[in-house]
Symmetry: C2
Subunit: 499 residues, 2 copies
């Protein structure tokens, strides 16, 4: 029966279905945003149930056999335009992956995520891994089931890795990390010896409300459109999006240090610009989605580090900080600010790590997840292994779990396999940054004057508006002339940290 | 096939369906709360679409013929317990009403409401009815279609009135208002002559942030559980609920007068306690819903007026205000506060009206809606008639539409037929208050000490936990020994305002 319909009609029913599914998913994202920003404490149970229902329905609609037949039929239609064909091809790929997870399993996972998230918040507040443990055990059990349902070759972790970064797997990532870490460790050791001692001017008391005002001012001056988004506070900073016209970031304030909030905001801003730059005409369709998590992370790391921790950015930023905090910034120079935000120092918290040690934080999580998924590590053993690895790779002692394995939200969300995309993103960021400089789009003198529009527009044209047209490596190749190459990162890091 | 199943199994599938529908409806309520509190300005289109999808799906599930058959089958089951039977009976009533509205119509309405709401916000900001007009025309057109779809006797407005207050209609309401307004007008005239001149201590500058802090402190002291709800700012104060464990109120701050925010908060608090008091075990079911809008309003008006504007409450409140605003409250007495919050004065804004003139505000809206629905008035003529009626009933000139027909959010939401429940609620409030005093639950000396728990508990037991067990009048009868009786209101008002 389908075969008699013309491609336009078929594509329109595809659109209608996809929009309904997207509306459900984005509505669920609103519920989750609310959960992490404004939800009353005792409201978590019903919210978990509501969120699970939306997840389940979206999954049910997306995996309906009639929808599968529609995609199947459309896959053969050569009279669709290139974008339409790409949407259908990606849709088919996503469908084939999704049907592997039964609706009941998706609901169970969603409910468990809600429970785990709240257990994590409590555990973190009370600095007790034991509070998180039972819920995390349940969750990792479900993740193993998920890997089995999705199917994999060689290693169960591969199923999850592929879910976050298409094509990635243990063998490939072992290679990437292997190639990166040895020169990075050598560089790190050298930097730690040679680097001058700095006194961090951001490491003093900054009032919460004043930080909040400064942060919003910074976003405004950088060009964040508050008509298309907003910023709020949450336990763990994140970016979420309900359409390219409603992109929300969150931040966390530490009154003892202005830097944490500031660079975390720059990080989320990079993510937010990506989401705002996705084509609204492709709302709810694959081409309306970001290329990949690693490319998403390349945007945040580019703004946080490559630009945000550059000499010229510090020159621009210092007078703005001083406007808000004249007392604290008295006598501080841009040079001093630059050195303090680029101090290399093995530390406990991933999101506060410098550009060099950052990859070790990621690798530690990667190693732990790999072992958990392989069944070589029990959940209750995580804190011990975590602390061992921090000692081994970064030479530091983890004093408690709050500053250790409870620091990240990811596991509470069931995001196993997500962390590696952070390292990949940092590598892509540097490659994009090199290209921006090569094409003379990002110029030190413009950054020093707070002129960010050329960079934003270039990223918009080359990355954001493209959605899922290509995969990560192909996109990087198209823009930079070659795919992932960690040597470029090492070159960048060497010239920055050992000038 | 159904007939072979046992009642427990059937009831469980009913529960499952109802929970899924409730989850969708409450998720939509979250989207709407967000829309009126935190939504970025340019995000309205996609949000409208998302909200419409949730509405449509909830409606689709609720009106599915299989669900109708399930209700039909369960209606005959006498082996269900009394609560279950009541849920099924109400479910059947709601179903029969809902199936009259096709899904496409519900979606159209939802999308139009989103457009109309944003047009209303813009119109209000720019004080221009013209901005609201085209969207309101569309919306009233849809409301007329809705009345036709629902069906009615005598008057199309009856279909909508019945939707907000089961059993109410033009003939009955004309009678209620007719009986109420004549003695009220006489009383009003007398009070206006006899009442002493007062200087309102709340009518001066109160800083926004300080008002906000005061307001949250007030809620805390009155016993509002912030673990089960929250307060935010919005264009128009409202209460919404996503479960009895997540009940949210909003308020609006006027820096020139502390009273508006304070008593509006007491009003919403009354609504919020009702929602928090509904039985969680009946989540998503008729018995988990409030009795009616008028009984809902009785709760808000009881706290706002009967208790909130009493002598003893003013005694308790004054020192709290003074703690937050020592300068403004210097030398103010509780007596003075009492008189100023009970000043009777024909005014422009319904939500700021005193207890006597309030009913005229409601009646004016009722008259206009009646004419619109009958086709006796064009939407563009609303401002003229509005202003005429304010002049006729309250003897005041409406200077502009912002203070006139643009003041209420209701029409932008398509809520035609809602306003009369405000007057009904105020009448029920007084009847409940009399009963509270008769049973010595609400005692002046306790209120003066800020002891509200006995009243909250009594309302919880007699009203809140009952959900939709009875209809408004039956509930009132059960508690007070008689149904709606506007003479009690007149007696209360006479003794309060002409002591």
């Amino acid at each position: 029966m389908l075969i008699q319909k013309n491609s336009t009609d078929l594509y329109n029913s595809y659109l209608q279905q996809m929009h309904r599914i997207a509306d459900l998913r984005y509505a669920n994202a609103v519920l989750q945003w609310d959960q992490e920003t404004y939800l009353p404490k005792k409201a978590t149970d019903f919210r978990g149930q509501q969120s699970a229902t939306l997840s389940e329905l979206a999954h049910e609609f997306f995996t309906a056999s009639t929808f599968g037949s529609l995609l199947e039929e459309l896959s053969g239609r050569t009279d669709l335009d290139a974008n339409q064909q790409r949407n259908i091809a990606l849709g088919k790929y996503d469908f084939d992956k999704s049907v592997k997870l039964p609706a009941a399993f998706v609901r169970k996972m969603s409910e468990q995520v809600t429970k785990s998230y709240h257990a994590w918040v409590a555990a973190r507040n009370q600095n007790s891994f034991a509070i998180f443990l039972p819920e995390l055990e349940q969750l990792t059990g479900l993740k193993k089931q998920e890997a089995d349902l999705l199917g994999y070759e060689s290693h169960p972790y591969n199923a999850l890795l592929n879910d976050y970064e298409k094509g990635s797997n243990v063998a490939w990532l072992d290679g990437v990390f292997g190639k990166l870490l040895q020169p990075l460790k050598a560089l790190l050791d050298e930097v730690l010896v040679k680097q001058a001692k700095v006194t961090d001017p951001l490491n003093q008391f900054f009032d919460k409300d004043q930080q909040w005002a400064f942060c919003n001012d910074l976003l405004q001056r950088m060009g964040f459109d508050f008509g298309l988004g907003r910023q709020d506070l949450s336990e763990h900073p994140f970016t979420t999006s309900f359409s390219p016209q409603d992109v929300r970031i969150t931040t966390r304030i530490n009154e003892q240090n202005l830097g944490f909030m500031t660079w975390s905001t720059l990080h989320e801003l990079g993510h937010a610009w990506y989401e705002q730059g996705l084509p609204t005409t492709q709302y709810g369709l694959p081409l309306g989605e970001a290329c990949s998590l690693s490319i998403h992370e390349s945007q945040s790391r580019l703004w946080e580090n490559c630009i945000g921790r550059s000499h010229s950015f510090c020159e621009w930023l210092l007078p703005i900080i001083a406007e808000h905090f004249p007392k604290q910034m008295e006598g501080v120079t841009a040079e001093q600010l630059y050195h303090s935000v680029n101090e290399v120092k093995p530390s406990l918290i991933r999101t506060e790590a410098d550009e060099l040690t950052y990859h070790f934080h990621v690798m530690i999580r990667y190693e732990i997840e790999k072992k958990i998924m392989a069944g070589d590590l029990q959940v209750k053993e995580i804190p011990i292994l975590w602390n061992e690895l921090y000692s081994k790779y970064l030479g530091i002692n983890v004093p408690d779990d709050k500053q250790g394995c409870l620091q990240d939200i990811h596991w509470s969300h069931g995001s196993f396999g997500y962390f590696p995309t952070y390292s990949l993103g940092s590598l892509y960021a540097v490659q994009l940054f090199y290209q921006l400089q090569k094409e003379k789009i990002s110029k030190d003198e413009s950054i020093a004057q707070g002129t960010f529009t050329p960079v934003i527009n270039w990223l918009g044209k080359n990355v954001h508006t493209k959605g899922r047209q290509q995969e990560s490596d192909a996109l990087c190749s198209e823009i930079c002339g070659e795919g992932l190459n960690s040597e470029i990162f090492i070159r960048y890091a060497r010239s920055k940290f050992l000038p």
